[in-house]
């Protein structure tokens, strides 16, 4: 196999692995820029994946599956919102709680409803997102360099993958070019000022949390309806935390999120594919080190050794109107 072919295949799987990371990290972007920390991305994604798997199987409709995923994930977001915005509880504690509740209940309910050891039944083609072949992808395959790039890398992904990549500029536009985005960012930096301007801090934060729920739901649906044919127990396997790491690594900026997720996705894809790859100079790198690398990089970045990650100023602090 020549190097170029390897590159295309690696890039293709990087895109696939990165898709849920991008969606979940953007989801985190919305709440955290609004000043609500969310370590419950993992749980919301898992809940979404489960709902998608169940509903898509029962209705045999991929659209209903996606809708269910978004609904469940938004519902979980609202629980997080109620605890951390209305009740002014600890945002971290609430996120941890949601992760546990979802991790347990998806297994219990899945086992009770389908009796397949916590899985949902395998989905037929109707219940899944198929791959989309871009126009002329087959006929252009033979064109040197550009052909494989187009038909091997750009073409042949599911609808949700294209959606995820489109969400990056879309999120940027919403956050930096709309009134809602400006206010959302303001409420994460200085909620007092936003309140003084006569805008409801509470309602703004709730809207941010709902945006997060929608995106996490799509990320979950991608896992059970596009990447796999159904839900399996604990299928997020830490992706929510990697997305959180990517969000911080990206310093809470949409464009950086794309690159951070692609980097972390690449590390993952590479580790899966080349378990015993010998690097020039360093030699063999243990696969465990490759798996830990996203986390290590995030720790190093957070410590300010490569640039400085400054979180939204009002992040993690519940807003109290009357002082």
């Amino acid at each position: 196999m020549d190097v170029f072919q390897v590159f295309i295949e690696l890039a293709q799987s990087t895109v696939r692995v990165s898709t849920p990371l991008i969606l979940a990290a953007l989801a985190g972007l919305f709440t955290e820029r609004a000043g609500v920390f969310d370590i419950g991305l993992e749980g919301k994604m898992l809940g979404g994946a489960f709902a998608a798997g169940c509903v898509a199987y029962v209705t045999q409709s991929v659209a209903m599956g996606l809708l269910a995923a978004v609904l469940v994930s938004v519902l979980l977001s609202l629980v997080h919102g109620y605890a951390s915005i209305t009740q002014r509880g600890s945002q971290i504690v609430s996120g941890v709680a949601i992760n546990f509740v979802v991790a347990g209940s998806t297994v219990i309910l899945g086992e009770a409803w389908f009796r397949q050891g916590g899985r949902t039944p395998a989905l037929s083609a109707d219940g899944r997102f198929g791959t989309i072949t871009l126009p002329f992808a087959d006929s252009l395959r033979e064109v040197p360099v550009l052909g494989p790039l187009y038909s091997g890398l750009l073409s042949g992904h599911s609808l949700l993958t294209y959606l995820a990549f489109l969400m990056v500029p879309a999120s940027w536009w919403v956050l930096y070019r709309t009134r809602f985005g400006l206010r959302l960012r303001a409420v994460g930096e200085n909620p007092g000022a936003v309140d003084t301007a006569g805008i409801s801090v509470i309602w703004l934060r709730y809207r941010a949390v709902i945006c997060c729920g929608i995106l996490c739901g799509i990320a979950g649906a991608y896992l059970s309806l596009a990447a796999n044919a159904g839900f399996t127990k604990g299928m997020t396997a830490g992706k929510g935390y990697i997305a959180l790491a990517a969000l911080i690594f990206a310093k809470w900026r949409p464009t950086n999120i794309l690159f951070a997720c692609l980097l972390f996705g690449f590390l993952d894809a590479f580790a899966i594919r080349y378990q015993s790859f010998a690097f020039p100079l360093i030699g063999k790198v243990p696969v465990q080190l490759m798996q830990a690398l996203p986390y290590i990089l995030t720790v190093i970045l957070l410590a300010g050794f490569i640039g400085k990650a400054i979180p939204p100023k009002a992040g993690g602090v519940p807003y109290v109107k009357e002082r």
Partner: protein
């Protein structure tokens, strides 16, 4: 945090509110059982019976309790300093290295009562080391402790996987674990303690590290409420600005608190490694570090609350196994739900019922109402 709530009498603050929160968590868990199509009452019966029905069951319950006392104390100590150490899982996992090294080195030459202290030191040393880095990063570089400790849980998982694969695994063995320790690496069971109450411990791995957990709980009480260091930690937790003004060295306190917290989490490793399996296995912590969060929240970060909270979760773990056996549609994952709900209601939503309870309690006792209005 300046939450404008009236002060409640102690029994309501530390008794009633946690109980109401716990009751709601259990009610919702009961609903889940109903959805699954089983009877919540029957499940509750199996749980209590499975946790306390026989001496052996009680032994298992107390075995889990031991683990959760350590991880609960670890989270609580950090809470007092205003730090949320979510990394107990990783610290306990890495603490296992200390236990394993002590046992592998001395189990064939020394008796258990000499290996045990070495293992305690080893466990707390490695646990503390794993917490030292996030603590130092928070104190000196300002990185958020919650995020770093989460990352360190994952890094610990990879590290341990590597070590068990390449270093600890005996030659020719397939499973990811150390060799089984000889007599020196095996803690004695507490059958004498059980037999005082006329019970037999049976096959339950209820061992001497339970006593160590109780000593640790007392030690934490002394540390937090009877020493200068504890006072400084609580000051930091209440108001970092006041602590700074009082000349307390912020960075030092954060690092020391995290090391104590990590050391306590690391000691958890003694219980499963030296007390049950007599070897270090892959993923031996099994989420106990996270249970510690629920235990600390339930127990209001006070040892006197943490021990009963740990007992409650010990009951859930042991009784949950019994439910899973009797009612096949309810697996042990039910505990994870209950754990999550307890964290939600005792932690994030702890103030949800407070206004109603305050009105109720203060309405009952007019004398308190008078002092409250005077105070306000």
């Amino acid at each position: 945090m300046s939450v404008p709530y009236a002060k409640l009498p102690g029994w309501a603050e530390y008794g009633l509110i946690p109980l109401v929160n716990l009751a709601v968590a259990f009610l919702i868990s009961g609903l889940v059982v109903l959805i699954v199509g089983e009877s919540p009452l029957e499940a509750a019966y199996h749980m209590v019976n499975g946790a306390f029905g026989r001496g052996e069951y009680i032994g298992f319950t107390l075995y889990y309790t031991t683990t959760f006392i350590f991880t609960g104390l670890a989270v609580a100590v950090a809470f007092h300093c205003g730090l949320f150490n979510i990394g107990g899982e990783g610290q306990a996992y890495v603490g296992g290295i200390g236990v394993a090294l002590a046992c592998l080195a001395f189990d064939r030459t020394l008796p258990w009562y000499l290996v045990f202290p070495i293992a305690i030191v080893g466990a707390s040393l490695f646990g503390a080391l794993w917490a030292l880095i996030p603590g130092w990063l928070q104190a000196k570089r300002g990185s958020h402790i919650v995020i770093t400790t989460i990352m360190f849980n994952f890094i610990a998982a990879s590290l341990m996987n590597y070590l068990l694969n390449r270093v600890f695994k005996p030659l020719g063995s397939m499973s990811l674990e150390t060799r089984t320790f000889d007599a020196g690496g095996q803690l004695p069971k507490l059958d004498w303690l059980m037999s005082i109450f006329g019970l037999s411990v049976g096959s339950a791995p209820f061992n001497i590290s339970f006593l160590l957990a109780l000593v640790a709980a007392f030690g934490v009480w002394v540390l937090i409420w009877r020493t200068k260091l504890g006072y400084e930690m609580r000051t930091m937790g209440h108001s970092p600005a006041a602590a700074r003004y009082a000349g307390i060295k912020e960075a030092r306190i954060i690092v020391v608190t995290m090391m104590i917290s990590g050391g306590l989490a690391g000691m958890m490793a003694l219980n499963p490694i030296m007390g049950e399996q007599f070897r270090m296995q892959l993923d031996f912590v099994q989420g106990a570090g996270f249970v510690g969060i629920a235990v600390a929240l339930m127990g209001r970060s006070h040892p006197a609350g943490i021990i009963p909270a740990a007992l409650l979760f010990g009951m859930l773990y042991q009784g949950g196994a019994e439910i899973a056996f009797e009612m096949p549609s309810i697996s042990r994952d039910m505990i994870v739900i209950i754990q999550g709900l307890v964290i939600l209601f005792a932690g994030a939503l702890e103030h949800m019922f407070r206004p109603a309870i305050t009105r109720l309690v203060l309405g009952l006792t007019p004398a308190t109402r008078a002092t409250v209005t005077k105070g306000a």
